[in-house]
């Protein structure tokens, strides 16, 4: 990691996650396990949550990256040993926007990404995912019904979800919104048919890959955001609510949500580099972010296990 990564020290934990997730999808285990765990531990704050690096403000994205990286590198044991569940609960509670706060009518139910930080859809997913990793029940200490109302307000006339109520339907935010609902079993609260209309239209006939918004260009990272969204959506449409609640199956596969071989070809033929790594699209330099999400999208085309998308640490 040379000098060109200077601008990203606020996201060391994000890099650890992205790099180790990318690696872990390729290899079965990540290198230098204890060093990784020690580093992640050094990013945890006494007040709860993890920052991007030591002595940084806790941020919900870096908290997600940290717990996910802990699990990838060291399994449930690492989570148990390193992550402070009680403090993390407090952290998440502090971040949730109350209806009574300023801006409560717009943001109420959603979460800030850090104290004093922005409020948008990413935070809802990240908060729910963190709860899953740490096997916390969000219903016990967070206001789930207002979170669901917030997510509903973010569904646009196109069917996808924007970052904030009224914002344009966007792949990243749509995944975050729908996955947040799926993690708490509340997918039926939004218009699934309209979501299917929008999400299925994101796969481009010519390229095979997905775009993030209507009339925009294909980008390999949406292989995951849109692909995974469709996997979850197909599951919600084909299974009844009671069926979905059963968490016994460690082997629930993605069905037939989109044109898998078309996506696979886009990723491998257009986005993979001979020297390694994946890029957004031909003509653009590769980076860790696109490598992580192109690989994750590729995984979806190979009989993916839905438990991975639902952060079901018990079944993995």
């Amino acid at each position: 990691l040379g000098v060109e990564y200077d601008g990203k020290s606020g996201h060391l934990t994000a890099k650890a996650f992205v790099a180790s997730e990318g690696l872990a999808s390729l290899l079965k285990r990540a290198p230098r396990k204890q060093a990784c765990l020690d580093f992640i531990e050094s990013c945890q704050n006494p007040s709860g949550g993890f920052g991007g690096g030591p002595q940084q403000l806790s941020h919900i994205a870096t908290t997600y990256a940290s717990v996910a990286a802990l699990f990838i590198v060291g399994g449930k044991d690492a989570l148990r040993e390193v992550a402070n569940r009680e403090k993390t609960k407090v952290f998440l509670q502090r971040l949730q926007v109350q209806q009574s706060e300023y801006g409560g009518s717009e943001y109420g139910g959603s979460f800030r990404v850090h104290i004093g930080g922005e409020v948008d859809m990413r935070a809802c997913y990240l908060a729910m995912a963190v709860c899953r990793f740490l096997e916390l029940n969000p219903a016990e200490f967070l206001d789930l019904s207002s979170m669901v109302e917030y997510i509903k307000r973010c569904q646009t006339y196109e069917g996808g979800f924007g970052g904030e109520p009224g914002n344009e339907a966007h792949g990243g935010y749509s995944y975050c919104g729908f996955a947040a609902l799926a993690l708490v079993g509340m997918e039926d609260q939004v218009d699934l048919f309209q979501l299917l209309d929008w999400a299925s239209s994101r796969q481009q006939t010519y390229e095979g890959g997905f775009n993030g918004r209507t009339n925009k260009l294909t980008d390999s990272c949406y292989s995951f955001w849109q692909g995974a969204l469709l996997c979850l959506l197909e599951r919600s449409l084909s299974k009844g609510k009671e069926e979905r609640k059963e968490e016994n199956s460690s082997d629930e596969k993605c069905g037939n949500p989109f044109k898998k071989d078309a996506l696979r070809n886009w990723i491998l033929v257009c986005c993979q580099l001979v020297e390694g790594g994946f890029r957004d699209k031909p003509g653009v330099r590769p980076d860790y972010y696109h490598t992580c999400y192109a690989l994750s999208g590729l995984y979806l085309t190979h009989n993916a296990n839905v438990n991975v998308l639902l952060c079901n640490v018990r079944n993995l």
Partner: protein, 359 residues
């Protein structure tokens, strides 16, 4: 004579300057065996060392404000430093300093315009300089400057951003925040119309237009309005001419139709008739156009059927009053999806799912 600035051999370290002589920098602790180590520039490590020290002692001053500028220019995504900067600004409580933020943000924007921290900071700055009334009871700003900042200035700034990137997500989100926070909806319809004229495929503009309509005209705020509904439909048909495959417009149309339960029944039925006819004509023009309009037709039929059958909550009895045949609509939807499976194989799986839903 001199080498280019970036080739200079002498590195300026803040910690070595006289004004920082009282501060002992704190190095970053990365453990015995660093992982994901970043090879920082000397200037950056040095500035961060100072920052860790002043944050620990909680110094909120002019020099620490300057320090956060230096660091943010080197690493504009460092959210901890942006937050510390705001603590300093609140503590200094100076209107002049908050106004200076505008130039500072402009500088950061020129380095990277797609930055969450920047746009979050911008909202705080705008709110501080132009309190909207809901922001609580902070101390009044020290008025140490005659400079003012207005909404017009802010819209001008957004205009510059859109001129470079008419689909800039953060900028659109910011615009929506501005418009709803300050209640300034009046220019938005014209604004979106101009952008659509420049690029009829600009989905961000269409989305914003829909947002404005729902919060001003068709939505609950102003009750039903036949004129707006009809005008918007005609505007859409106008925009589709020559680009009948444009997904943005078809989605917009469908959105209008499914939220028009405040307009007159006969108006609505007339519009439906026009649209179904339009679909039949467009279908014959080309395969791409056929896919788009048949897709629209199928979704519309299905969604209407759901409403007629009372499966969609909170929509009143408008749909029943239309006196449409739900079974016929569902049948039309299914026929369309069957056709689409051959016309549009990319989405074959979803048409399969939809057929299942209709049953």
């Amino acid at each position: 004579m001199a080498a280019a600035a970036h080739e200079r051999e002498e590195v300026v370290l803040l910690s070595e300057q006289p004004e920082w002589s009282d501060v002992q920098p704190i190095p970053q602790c990365e453990g015995v065996e660093p992982v994901v180590q970043i090879l920082y520039d000397k200037e950056y490590s040095d500035a961060m060392g100072l920052l860790r020290a002043v944050m620990r002692r909680g110094e909120l001053s002019q020099r620490t404000l300057h320090l956060t500028s230096v660091i943010i220019f080197m690493n504009s995504a460092h959210f901890t430093v942006w937050e510390f900067r705001r603590c300093i600004l609140h503590s200094l409580n100076s209107k002049r300093e908050w106004i200076s933020e505008l130039d500072f943000m402009k500088e950061v924007n020129s380095m990277n315009t797609k930055n969450y921290q920047l746009w979050n900071h911008r909202r705080v700055v705008v709110e501080t300089l132009m309190p909207s009334g809901g922001s609580g009871n902070g101390p009044a700003l020290k008025v140490d400057t005659i400079e003012t900042y207005t909404l017009k200035d802010e819209f001008d700034h957004l205009g510059e951003i859109f001129a470079e990137d008419a689909k800039h997500y953060h900028a659109w989100a910011h615009r929506q925040w501005l418009v709803r926070t300050y209640g300034c909806w009046d220019k938005e319809m014209t604004f979106t119309k101009e952008l659509i004229k420049e690029d009829v495929y600009n989905n961000s503009a269409w989305n914003h237009r829909f947002y404005v309509i729902m919060n001003g005209f068709l939505g609950d705020h102003q009750g039903g309005n036949d004129d707006v509904f009809v005008n918007e439909v005609m505007y859409c048909l106008e925009c589709l001419k020559g680009s009948e495959e444009n997904e943005s417009v078809w989605s917009f149309l469908l959105g209008l139709l499914l939220r028009a339960n405040h307009v007159g029944t006969s108006q609505y039925l007339q519009v439906l008739e026009i649209l179904f006819k339009f679909v039949k004509v467009t279908q014959k023009q080309s395969k791409t156009r056929a896919v788009r309009c048949v897709f629209f037709d199928a979704s519309l039929c299905y969604q209407l059927a759901l409403r007629v059958l009372g499966h969609v909550k909170d929509t009143g009895d408008f749909w029943k009053r239309l006196d449409l045949d739900a079974a016929k609509l569902l049948h039309q939807a299914v026929d369309n999806w069957r056709l689409l499976k051959s016309l549009d194989p990319t989405r074959e799986a979803s048409y399969e799912i939809k057929e299942g839903l209709a049953k």
